[in-house]
Symmetry: C2
Subunit: 406 residues, 2 copies
């Protein structure tokens, strides 16, 4: 069994880096604070006797040797970057639970047959650089390294520049290696486990998610003398599109998710009807077919509304992450570990994307969830119970041992 107090203390120490006034964390990818968080993690891993490898995407791999150097490693991990107004647990928990597994094995002088690795994946959140999960995405061959390096933040700084600047552009190629299994433990970021009073979520997959930039283009004109009826005003299109997309979510309730995380007006002057509105759209559904229906409806709604109002519109596909099913053997390793440990549990699908989405394309993968308070995440008030975090790390320990000693 892992040391729950040590895990909690490490989480709290990491949370001081980028701590916000409201008790959350702002440690966005490839900032100075991200560097500080990475440095601390690397130090901890070295103290635990691990060897460190950093790849060209800044992904960090901390390795604890196994008895049989020929065996493919069992990997776990998640991310250390946060949302701008993020919490202390999202991602960080998965990384530090992995470290806690290694510390626990060290405490008991326990060897494994296969090596164990704890990974930190770069820029999972997609908040500073879109899309999400780009570190694991390049590593798994889903994106090119050049594409990732060229991604820009809102200030126009590129991923490549910032990675180099913080000193985490490693030499190892960012490409898949042979893995015996990969696991990731994460807070649920939703309300189901808490509501159903289950301590562990045994994940069978991840819902599909599509990201878009919808641009509505009208004609800028003066707010005063320009008659309402001759305007081509992107806001007139916006409200109709929002309305229809919220109705689309209702039509595919309860599982459909429709989110608008960001919006920008150009030129953005108080007394000028904007020329453009750029809206970030996020559509999700666990069933790939339904998600594709939603994708089609979204395009029709945008095109239809723009046509009605004499606006132009553009839809840029920012990211497409289809629904994922995890590896049955890995799911079973989690299921049986949780049963042995006697934790109440539920089989479920993740609503959030995780690095495991990409890892699952190149290695047998599954995930473990623990409840989080009120299902709140991507929020500074994000919280989780020490007991649940301990249970999740124990489930991870057992599942990793099963796969490393098989």
């Amino acid at each position: 069994r892992i040391n729950g107090q040590r895990l909690w203390d490490s989480l709290m120490e990491m949370a001081t880096i980028g701590a916000t006034a409201k008790g959350g964390c702002n440690r966005q990818a490839l900032t100075d604070l991200d560097k500080q968080g990475r440095d601390l993690f690397v130090q901890w891993c070295e103290d635990a006797g691990c060897s460190i490898t950093i790849d060209e995407m800044g992904n960090i791999f901390a390795r604890r040797a196994g008895n049989n150097g020929d065996l493919a490693p069992v990997l776990t991990g998640s991310h250390l970057d946060t949302q701008p107004t993020g919490g202390k647990f999202d991602g960080v928990y998965g990384v530090l639970a992995g470290l806690e597994v290694i510390r626990t094995l060290n405490d008991h002088n326990l060897d494994t047959e296969a090596p164990l690795e704890v990974a930190v994946w770069t820029n999972e959140e997609g908040a500073r650089f879109s899309p999400a999960m780009i570190g694991s995405g390049v590593w798994s061959g889903n994106f090119d390294k050049e594409y990732a390096y060229a991604r820009t933040d809102k200030e126009g700084k590129t991923f490549g520049e910032e990675l180099e600047r913080i000193g985490y552009q490693g030499e190892a190629p960012a490409k898949p290696r042979d893995l015996a299994a990969a696991f990731e433990v994460h807070i649920e970021q939703g309300p189901i486990l808490e509501a159903e009073e289950k301590q562990i979520g045994v994940l069978s997959g991840v819902q599909g998610m599509y990201w878009y930039d919808l641009t509505l283009i009208g004609q800028p004109c003066h707010a005063g003398p320009s008659p309402m009826e001759t305007r081509r005003d992107p806001f007139m299109g916006l409200h109709r599109i929002l309305d229809q997309l919220y109705k689309l979510a209702e039509a595919h309730a309860p599982w459909a998710r429709v989110t608008f995380g960001d919006i920008r007006a150009e030129p953005g002057s108080r007394n000028t009807v904007p020329e453009k509105l750029v809206l970030a759209v996020d559509l999700r559904h666990p069933d790939q077919q339904v998600l594709d229906t939603m994708d089609k409806s979204f395009r029709e709604i945008a095109a239809g509304t723009a046509a009605e109002l004499g606006l132009e519109h553009q839809i840029r596909d920012e990211w497409r992450s289809p629904a994922v099913r995890f590896d049955e053997k890995c799911v079973e390793a989690v299921r049986s570990s949780v049963a042995e440990l006697g934790y109440s549990n539920k089989e479920m699908v993740s609503g959030a994307g995780h690095d495991s989405v990409y890892i699952s394309r190149v290695a047998p993968t599954s995930m473990i969830f623990v409840p989080c308070e009120k299902g709140l995440s991507h929020n500074e008030a994000e919280n989780a119970e020490p007991d649940d975090l301990e249970a999740g790390a124990n489930a991870l320990l057992h599942a990793m041992l099963k796969m490393a000693n098989q």
Copy 2:
């Protein structure tokens, strides 16, 4: 009669400063480009024998002496700053038409009894620093200098710093002096004169306009796992409020104007329901009573929608400019000048705010409009006919002479 070609050439020369690829101008207040435009204007005025005074707000006054130094001057003027995607004529025309009046009098060696002045008012557009017309606003005693100096642009730079930086913080106090009359000639920025084929608008006043920042506050949460029905999503409030405000404009058609020039989401991350949306709202109506009714409805709509959806909301009054009626003697000076010159004309009310709104509070004031192509303004495609610009400047010349030699 003024020299239409010289006026046009000066307009085109000024338009090279901050010229945009689409044929417009981006010469926002207190930028380096604004400084260049001011320098050029000051040079032209000095060449025309004027003495220059600059006040603490950066307002520029170019004075042509009169025969009787005891008489209060007749003033004209407008602004040289533009919208971010502005045109070549908005404001600039009123300044350069004033200069053209002086150049014409010089050409013919004509003296006036009262002195004449051409003013450049700082930051009329309100695009870089809100509110609009702040140079004339402080000068006329409507705002404090300290309030103006503390206004910030989107990058957080203050008006005061930027004014000093470009070297246009003068010594003269920004406060009203005795003026015999003040006139301003401007493009209409709306479609009426063009549609009715009139060359000159004789203005009796300016409609009322209120600016607000509406903030909708919800609860940030994760775009994936958070169920739609438990979200407190500011976008769900936004679309209902936009819808109701556009309906409010319809209810007070044809004169009501409802415009949303800018919007911002916080934290502005693709996969997070925003905590806040901040929307710039601009409501206008020529009838002060109707505008006050609209103001009340706006507050009810915002409060009602927020309450329905469990959102919080805040309304910040950014600027209130009540409806204005111009001085009857000045209006008559324009009316009779236009009649003498034989120009087709229409009496009307301005849809846009102008420096004359504030000047009219401390001096007898009126305005002259000329048509602009398709009524388009605050747009890089803004355009006006040389003939109309010439007619407007002639009307200005005659009205100024009437008041200076009475």
